[in-house]
């Protein structure tokens, strides 16, 4: 059942890309005239890709129609297909589908990550304006200790600690320590030995 919805969705997305996005957002057509001959334009390859998505959707609709009638789960032993992930799958059921729980988990996780990245980006500039010399700008201090570490340490520790506490569903001091150790190791690996590498967010402030 889930596959049928997925098939419809893919079909719709493919058609939308093919007939709306590509015409609006690609400057050359599927074919172009250049130097008195015809060449493939920039819309050609994306059009093929969008068509593949749509065709894949149709194929999926066909597959799910016949699969529904014999909805027998194949055990892992019989199925010869490699698991999609890199790590062993915790037995993916034959009717794998996205639940509301999945979505809310994903949104919450993204929220945590977004906040951490924002902290990473702005902790440095904010601390320079609060504690730095008058008129100092973070951009010019982004390769000077200790300023260059402020954002990465604050954002990195927050990211690690917040994600661990989401898995364990509790908050503990040691999560912060794990985050701090991880951040320090990363600084030791990337920042100390290499003069021209910049930790986030110092490369493009």
């Amino acid at each position: 059942m889930a596959d049928r919805w997925l098939g419809l969705l893919a079909l719709a997305i493919g058609i939308l890309i093919l007939f709306v996005w590509i015409p609006l957002d690609v400057d050359t057509g599927i074919f172009e005239k250049a130097r008195r001959s015809v060449v493939l334009g920039d819309a050609f390859a994306p059009a093929v890709a969008a068509a593949l998505v749509a065709v894949g959707g149709c194929l999926l609709l066909l597959e799910s129609r016949t699969r529904l009638s014999r909805s027998v789960g194949r055990s892992t032993e019989q199925s010869a297909s490699p698991s999609p992930g890199l790590a062993p799958d915790s037995s993916p059921g034959p009717t794998a589908s996205l639940t509301l729980d999945n979505c809310s988990y994903l949104l919450a996780t993204l929220f945590v990550i977004a906040i951490s990245l924002l902290v990473m980006r702005y902790a440095g500039p904010v601390s320079v304006s609060l504690f730095g010399d008058d008129g100092a700008s973070y951009r010019l201090l982004r390769d000077t200790a200790p300023w260059k570490y402020v954002g990465f340490v604050a954002g990195g520790v927050m990211l690690v600690a917040a994600l661990i506490s989401r898995v364990e569903r509790r908050v503990r001091f040691r999560f912060l320590m794990i985050g701090l150790i991880a951040v320090l190791i990363l600084i030791a690996v990337y920042d100390l030995p290499f003069d021209d590498l910049l930790l986030p967010p110092n490369g493009d402030v």
Binding site: V26, V39, G56, L59, A80, S81, P88
Partner: protein
């Protein structure tokens, strides 16, 4: 220069390259050191449930590139490390499968069927030794096939395939990948289509960037690293964290009885498992040479073939699944012999077949100076082809890794049981931070980190709806080449709209493409 000179140069490049340090008067070349450290790390991550070779490759790659820089001299040490990880993880995957009934890598699932019963009977040491010897044999065999086949295949491709045929061949391999990975050809095709689309954002021939919604951040397109690490690593991290959040953190506390005496395998046992090793090595190598068909299928086929054979020959004895060494041998030889053969399409065609190969291509792509594909195997007579030297250096390092595997691999592997206790939920957020940091350091723009998170979301969703992300990744890598080759073929044939059917070879390739898609769609239905 003939081929033998190139082989020599390749061997020299590894053993007489820059020296890392001196040990008791012997200079240890840096490439050798990198193979060794990669190999050890590989066994370590292979033995850790929840980590796998590709993840270790992904994490170490940016560090390696920072250490060795963007220069051709970086190629061999970096490749050496990655090859080491690849081989180490293959061996290590059997450890938790045998000791704790939890496969460290997906392809080690079949190993649990006979390995765990053996361990429960107190014969873990024997099981591990059988796994090691089978894995090392399969791996070595597969590498030899690679070294013998890849150059010739490349030369044939270079000599006989024109631009239209090359386009058709790329289409054929993508169709193949879409149909064989995962459970559904439809999902595979969607995955391929999305991968291509992502590759086409911002790129193109025209000077105004396409598909960018007018955004300047998108005009540079998505980097290979953002897309691959996002879908493969970040997506996996998201999913595993949710699984742990939902199911709770399980800790492995099973103690293994270890009453047996630690000693080597008897000649009689070796004799009885060797036919299974040989058969599975052949199956694994043949499967590995096809892009996209992974080691899990090889393991399954190796196991089931061995099972049938055993039941027929020895119906009165204990069978596969009861805990016999032959079962481990059949599985481990098959899944290990995939890794070498998988590099055949990479080196001769530039088409990656599995996640490990993807990271080798990513390494080559980031460092520059080595473009996996048929042009690597050009045996120039008067000038040295540096890419060919690298290729033979790569082969040398693979054999070196095999040597390490045979000599110290078994011992290291048997010491790794402890790794199953690593708290994974501490590890995953750290891996996420590491991945994002690595991406940033390579690209120095924060928006690339957001892109990686975005691809992570895609990877997560794909895993939830049981759509394999591997076709996406492979299509992303090949997308640019596919478009360029098609464009070139079209122009070169004087704008012939039927260029994909302009020769017999083309027609065969295109026919196969359609056939594969039709067949796989039909087989899923019936």
């Amino acid at each position: 220069m003939d081929w033998f000179d190139y082989v020599l140069l390749g061997v020299q490049a590894v053993f007489q390259g820059p020296v890392a340090f001196e040990l008791a008067g012997f200079a240890i070349p840096i490439s050798v050191l990198m193979v060794l450290s990669g190999f050890l790390l590989g066994i370590l991550v292979g033995s850790t449930p929840g980590l796998a070779g590709p993840m270790a490759m992904a994490i170490s790659l940016p560090i390696l590139i920072s250490v060795f820089g963007y220069h051709e001299s970086a190629l061999l040490p970096v490749f050496g490390f990655l090859i080491g990880v690849m081989k180490g993880a293959t061996v290590g995957g059997a450890v938790p499968a045998i000791l704790f009934n939890t496969p460290g890598t997906p392809d080690a699932y079949m190993t649990t069927l006979d390995g765990y019963p053996l361990a429960q009977r107190g014969e873990a040491n024997k099981a591990l030794r059988v796994a090691h010897i089978s894995s090392a044999s399969g791996d070595t065999f597969s590498d030899i096939v690679l070294i013998l086949c890849a150059p010739f295949l490349a030369i044939i491709v270079e000599r006989y395939l024109d631009l239209p045929e090359k386009t058709a061949l790329l289409l054929l391999s993508m169709a193949f990948i879409a149909s064989v990975i995962g459970r559904s050809a439809g999902k595979g095709l969607i995955s391929v289509g999305l991968g291509l689309l992502a590759a086409y954002v911002g790129t193109g021939e025209d000077f105004s960037p396409r598909l960018t919604f007018g955004s300047e951040a998108l005009a540079q397109g998505f980097s290979v690293a953002s897309a691959i690490l996002g879908v493969l690593i970040v997506g996996e991290v998201f999913k595993s964290m949710e699984d742990m959040r939902r199911d709770g953190i399980s800790s492995v506390n099973a103690r293994v009885k270890n009453s047996e005496r630690r000693r080597g395998l008897s000649v009689g046992l070796l004799r009885s498992i060797s036919p299974y090793i040989a058969r599975s090595a052949l199956i694994g190598t043949a499967i590995g040479a096809l892009p996209g068909v992974g080691s899990t299928l090889a393991a399954t086929l190796g196991y089931t073939t061995g099972k049938g054979r055993h039941a027929k020959l020895h119906p009165q004895k204990a069978q596969f699944g009861d805990g016999i060494p032959e079962g481990i041998a059949a599985t481990e030889a098959a899944n290990s012999s995939v890794s070498g053969a998988n590099l055949i399409p990479v080196l001769s065609l530039g088409i990656p077949g599995n996640a490990s190969a993807v990271f080798l291509i990513l390494a080559a792509d980031s460092i520059g100076g080595f473009n996996p594909g048929p042009s690597v195997f050009r045996f120039n007579a008067d000038t040295v082809n540096p890419e060919l030297v690298v290729a033979f250096g790569l082969f040398t390092m693979m054999m070196l890794a095999n040597l390490l595997n045979w000599t110290i691999g078994g011992r290291v592997m048997r010491a790794m049981g402890i790794m199953t206790r690593v708290p994974k939920h501490y590890l995953l957020p750290v891996i996420l931070l590491l991945t994002l940091t690595a991406i940033y350091i390579q690209e120095t723009r924060l928006v690339a980190v957001w892109f990686t998170i975005g691809f992570g979301v895609l990877g997560y969703l794909m895993r939830r709806i049981d759509m394999s992300p591997l076709p996406f990744v492979i299509a992303f890598i090949l997308g640019g080449r596919l478009e360029e080759t098609a464009r070139q073929a079209f122009s070169a044939t004087g704008s012939d709209p039927w260029f994909l059917f302009s020769s017999a070879t083309c027609i065969v390739f295109m026919g196969l493409t359609v056939l594969i898609l039709l067949l796989s769609a039909r087989s899923r239905r019936s």
